[in-house]
Symmetry: C2
Subunit: 293 residues, 2 copies
DNA sequence: AGTTTTATGATTACTTGCGATCATAACGTG
DNA sequence: CACGTTATGATCGCAAGTAATCATAAAACT
């Protein structure tokens, strides 16, 4: 029993380190049959700790770097749509801060698919940085700091000090809890870092998905009266029902879609190729930038 | 013709962004048959720009994060052995700087396989950071800075300023050229950053493989009289023959192997499992730490 | 325009990986 | 010690991916 779990731990660690390993290689290394290895892989896959591929096992970057497939399933509706809303806030020539957090990550993903350039992006989130640095015209800066492996994020005193070099037009921030009194986070270090970011940003957006509603984390971050913009997939009346009396002017979410659609202008990005496919037309790639594909 | 190369460029970029994509998905996106897609993938694979897997294509992290297989082939002899020499310099409780560069990366790899903990590692090299952060007992700090995508490294003014927070026991540095007058690098930003690191390090090691011998890059970094330690796979008499009159006391390489082997103590790490396999014994993994597998 | 070269997609036969089933061996428990 | 549980490895049919071949279509060259 223990021995199996131990082996699976090693397996997970090994895949993590190598990012991808073929099944055969894993069998060789562990000296087990393919059947057993498949079982182990299936188990880890069931726990969403790895991604399976034909013939091997793959570790997504930080369990966040989602494969195209996961991306389609996971929150395909609300989260992606909300993320695309955020794109309306991104303007060429400005400087943005991207926090850690899944919602912020999906915003970065949406941005990757429909980039606005030139632009400067500063982030404490390694996957975000790596992803966006590939895009021409996007200047990516990483914060300094201690690398927290589990979250692939940078934190600590050095991170805060390296924030001193910056001033942001917009900051995209995450929280882990949203209650009538405000927004909360689990780690004091995160809260302190975010407070520094807030001081150094002209405007800010808190990106909070519905799973955070009515969850309270140990450390208080900010009250509703101080919040510039809340980006969420929670409908505004549901927020009100939960006792969060946010002003629509500070709210960006499913309800602001119709109005924002025009104002924001152009979420044409990803929809075009998708449409082509769903209509059975040949998925023309023509002169579309890579990011649309 | 152009159109094909253009498509392959897009293909490479796409795989890079997604890290892994199945063949079918790629076909769908580009609207080509599987046959064509396979041909394109084979071409990119031939150029070593991607790694093929059954059913998909995979981009290794920054072409540096080597797959287990590449790692066995690429420089399996000298580079790995030299890297292992460097391990003798790593002591628990101290603070090290890891520069970018392939040789430094292979040192980090060797360290992953036989870690000494606790230890603090500061790096401007994202793959190194990500790799080492997975090891318990290893505290990894990233420098701040602009993320240069092609090299996955951090550079620039912010990087230099974030160095001010540190003092290193040892710094592992790379160069791109080694001539009788000293060491050289291609980018001024790299040289300047390295000079800051040198000022902030009690001792330093330049990690230079044989391909750099007698190559001169545009920017001068340091002369031989100032160099603390040179780590290289070039035999010392070959250096002398090339006009580089380095003192053996400042030299670490194949020639110092015999003496250093005892002093360094224990390169038993990786050799054990390899042996087991080559002898046809069941590749016992027993209680070996993950890193050995 | 005519010819050669190149790229593409369909078909084929072949290889590889997968999941299910089953028998066996190891482990734990009463 | 006998029992049930669990892990394992072998086998097999099936599905998926691949490489090779070939005919067609599109470019490139003369």
């Amino acid at each position: 029993m223990h021995v199996i779990l131990a082996r699976r731990e090693k397996l997970a660690a090994l895949i993590e380190q190598h990012r991808f390993l073929p099944v055969k290689e894993l069998c060789r290394r562990f000296g087990v049959s393919e059947a057993t290895m498949r079982r182990d892989l299936a188990a880890l896959h069931g726990e969403k700790r790895i991604t399976r591929t034909f013939g091997g096992a793959l570790k997504e970057f930080n369990e966040r770097f989602p494969s195209f497939r996961e991306r389609q399933h996971r929150a395909s509706r609300s989260k992606t749509r909300v993320a695309r809303l955020a794109l309306g806030l991104l303007e060429a020539g400005k400087t943005y801060f991207f926090d850690s957090g899944t919602t912020v990550f999906s915003i970065a993903e949406a941005f990757r698919d429909a980039p606005v350039t030139p632009i400067t992006i500063v982030t404490s989130n390694l996957p975000v940085g790596e992803m966006l640095a590939a895009i021409p015209g996007v200047e990516v800066f990483q914060l300094a700091g201690q690398l927290l492996h589990l979250q692939s994020t940078l934190l600590g005193e050095t991170a805060q000090r390296s924030l001193e070099f910056w001033h942001f037009d917009w900051a995209f921030l995450s929280t882990e809890g949203m209650t009538p009194s405000g927004l909360w986070n689990s780690q004091i270090a995160i809260v302190e870092q975010q407070k520094v970011v807030l001081r150094r940003s002209a405007r800010h957006v808190f990106c909070v998905d519905s799973s955070k509603l009515n969850r309270q984390a140990p450390h208080f971050l900010i009250g509703w009266n101080e919040i510039d913009t809340l980006l969420t997939d929670v409908p505004i009346q549901k927020l009100h029902a939960a006792g969060i009396m946010i002003d629509p002017a500070h709210y960006l979410g499913p309800d602001s879609l119709k109005t924002a659609a025009g104002e924001v202008g152009g979420e044409a990005g990803e929809s075009a190729p998708e449409k082509a496919v769903s209509e059975g037309k040949p998925p023309v790639e023509g002169d579309l930038p890579v990011h649309f594909l």
